[in-house]
């Protein structure tokens, strides 16, 4: 069984936010408007975080794109009272919008703040949306799904053609867009896949590794390999 994962190379990431925008378009994530934005309610399944390294002589800026890390041992799913978020057998941490009661316990439990709440009705169905992804209503939590619908499509296609899914057939929207080619996606259970190889690189690290959440989004440090 595949174990889907992602590697993000921070040395390459330019903080351009193409991944963010690609994700919004792909997953019908609405803009919430100036008023809501000023109240810190922007929904951004993929979010580029910026950190200023004040010790660096130029006060260097570092960019950190953060999707849901699809923790292999996710603290968010355990706390959900109604099974509206769960880890599927291929490691994707999914949301069931139709079941979520909006208690936001999973938000409070995610150490990476990867979950977002629909504080209002931010959109209705309309033109320009991706019909493969449902439009969320107010009162429920949503987050990055690893573009799960793309996996389903790829799987259907493969099934119809009586074959296995090929590497590279299932690529999330953010990885597809990234102009610095900083995002690599694939099957972590296959040791020969590119993600697996990169995940073993000496530059590889995981966010808040000490928490034991075992994120399947793995980062590569900035700068040259430091052994």
């Amino acid at each position: 069984m595949a174990l889907w994962g992602m590697v993000i190379d921070l040395d390459r990431c330019t903080g351009c936010q193409a991944c963010v925008m690609a994700c919004k378009a792909e997953n019908n994530v609405p803009a919430v408007g100036p008023k809501e934005a000023s109240r810190e309610r922007i929904i951004s399944w993929m979010q580029v975080l910026t950190e200023e390294d004040k010790e660096h002589p130029d006060g260097k800026l570092r960019f950190l794109p953060r999707p849901c890390l699809h923790c292999d041992d996710p603290p968010c799913t355990k706390v959900c009272p109604v099974y509206a978020t769960y880890r599927d057998p291929e490691g994707i941490v999914a949301q069931i919008y139709a079941r979520c009661i909006g208690c936001r316990f999973c938000m409070a439990a995610c150490p990476y703040n990867a979950k977002y709440f629909n504080w209002h009705t931010y959109q209705k169905e309309g033109p320009g949306q991706n019909p493969d992804v449902s439009v969320r209503q107010k009162g429920i939590v949503e987050k990055c799904t690893f573009c799960h619908h793309r996996l389903q499509k790829a799987r259907e296609r493969a099934l119809a053609e009586h074959r296995e899914i090929e590497p590279g057939e299932y690529v999330p929207a953010c990885a597809e867009a990234c102009p610095a080619r900083a995002i690599v996606f694939g099957d972590l259970s296959d040791p020969s896949s590119e993600v697996s190889k990169l995940a073993r690189s000496p530059r590889a690290f995981r966010l808040q590794e000490e928490l034991g959440t075992k994120p399947k989004v793995i980062y590569l440090t900035e700068g040259e390999a430091r052994g």
């Binding site: 109604v82 079941r99 703040n113």
Partner: protein, 451 residues
């Protein structure tokens, strides 16, 4: 026993028999508060939780604070009354009912906070349909419902003889009282059974009560979040709960003492005892707070320290130091010497503790969420009128419920007072003797208080 001709305790029935202007005023004012909450809730249902000040990353605020706070207050009642009953503290007699009522009323309101906090209250039944026992929220739901059931029973059982009095003496609500009185005739056997039942419930209710606030704390401590993920949260919350519960009880007692002229029943000695209990809890609370913060500080873990400093000197410092002042400094000053002006001091301390414990709940819920581990923009949480409304309404609703209760049932247990006069005195004397060195050990015979 409950001799209908006994008129010494007539004053206890007075509020049920007659209604003064003050009552209507109080109801009107409290209803206004409740109305505010109702309007706020309607607005929230329509617009979504966005009408609150919650945001990313502070996704829990006043409602969850209120939830923890009210559930905490609920410990006043059943738990305290059970402990007092089991320890046969004779001074408990005028207090237990008041305490038990608090529990029941406040549990409803506490549990209601969660409903108010839900993004999709219409789906609340999913908790039953798809309930997932791995989630501490389900533990909460379970233990709160158990506590509520137990508390209701525990409130009702000792009320049966009094209800019978009402049934017999009052002209109104005959049917209602008849049903609730369960055919009480005050026979010896009935007394025996009742006392046994009360004793069993008292034993049962203590672990349930302890469990309630322990699992409430688990909502936080089961996560990995800084300053939440703590092993002492369970007992810490329980102590805080009892602490705030006693304070609430004192305030309630003082209000009704004044309103219904119960000075004869609720005497300074009661408040001195409760005040002392409050002082003990204040010290205990301080001890827990101190160890909790010291371990965090000593560990010095980066994420933990962000929250720590946020509370100590950062944007939450006013709340933090306010809490320390209200929960420790003021009670300490007020309660160390209670010989004179007992009532005033105890009231001040109690009000202070109620405010302080609410701040404590707030300071637990919000700062942790305000300092995400990753470099997010930090947003300050400001509640909106909707949250203020819900909070005001919660307090108002609680007061209203309580007030209405006193219009239907005696707020001090009539039969227990009488029992105190008749049996308690003798029994205490006997018991006292058994403590003393110069008496011979009498044969152990369980005291049949019903006798």
């Amino acid at each position: 026993m409950a001799d209908p001709a006994d008129t010494r305790d007539a004053i206890l029935l007075a509020p049920i028999e007659r209604t003064g202007r003050g009552f209507y005023w109080a109801v009107a004012i409290l209803s206004l508060g409740v109305l505010w909450g109702a309007v706020a809730y309607a607005v929230q249902l329509d617009g979504g939780l966005g009408v609150t000040g919650l945001h990313q990353p502070v996704s829990w605020g006043f409602y969850v604070t209120n939830f923890v706070f009210f559930i905490g207050i609920s410990h006043a009642g059943t738990l305290i009354s059970a402990i007092l009953r089991l320890s046969r503290a004779e001074w408990r007699r005028p207090i237990t009912r008041m305490a038990e009522v608090i529990t029941v009323m406040v549990l409803f309101i506490g549990a209601g906070q969660i409903l108010v906090d839900l993004g999709r209250p219409d789906r609340v039944m999913n908790v039953i349909r798809h309930g997932r026992y791995q989630s501490p929220l389900l533990w909460d739901a379970t233990s709160i419902s158990a506590y509520l059931t137990a508390s209701l029973v525990y409130l009702w059982l000792p009320m049966i003889p009094d209800i019978a009095i009402l049934r017999d003496r009052l002209g109104k609500r005959k049917f209602f009282y008849t049903v609730l009185a369960l055919g009480w005739q005050g026979t010896e056997r009935q007394h025996k059974v009742l006392n046994r039942a009360i004793a069993v419930m008292a034993v049962l209710v203590i672990p349930i009560a302890v469990s309630v606030h322990t699992v409430v704390s688990f909502v936080f401590s089961m996560t990995l979040q800084p300053m939440w993920h703590s092993t002492i949260f369970g007992p810490y919350f329980v102590v805080g709960a009892i602490f705030s519960g006693i304070a609430a009880l004192i305030v309630a007692m003082l209000i009704f003492r004044k309103a219904y002229g119960l000075q004869g029943y609720l005497r300074p000695i009661h408040f001195r005892y409760l005040g002392q209990l409050l002082l003990v809890m204040a010290l205990l609370w301080f001890y827990f707070t101190f160890t909790e913060y010291l371990t965090g500080y000593y560990g010095g873990e980066v994420e933990e320290m962000k929250v720590f400093w946020g509370k100590f000197w950062g944007p939450f410092s006013l709340f933090f130091w306010g809490m320390v002042l209200a929960n420790f400094v003021i009670p300490l000053f007020c309660l160390v010497r209670l010989e004179r002006r007992t009532i005033g001091k105890v009231l001040t301390a109690s009000l202070s503790v109620i405010v302080g414990m609410w701040l404590e709940r707030f300071i637990i819920v919000v700062p942790t969420l305000s300092y995400p581990r990753l470099p997010f923009p930090e947003g300050i949480y400001w509640p909106t009128w909707v949250e203020w409304g819900e909070t005001a309404a919660s307090f108002a609703l609680f007061a209203l419920f309580y007030l209405l209760f006193t219009k239907v049932f005696p707020i001090i247990s009539i039969w227990e007072i009488q029992e105190g006069r008749e049996v308690g005195l003798k029994e205490v004397e006997e018991r006292l003797l058994t403590y003393l060195p110069d008496t011979v050990e009498p044969e152990f015979t369980p005291v049949d208080r019903g006798g």
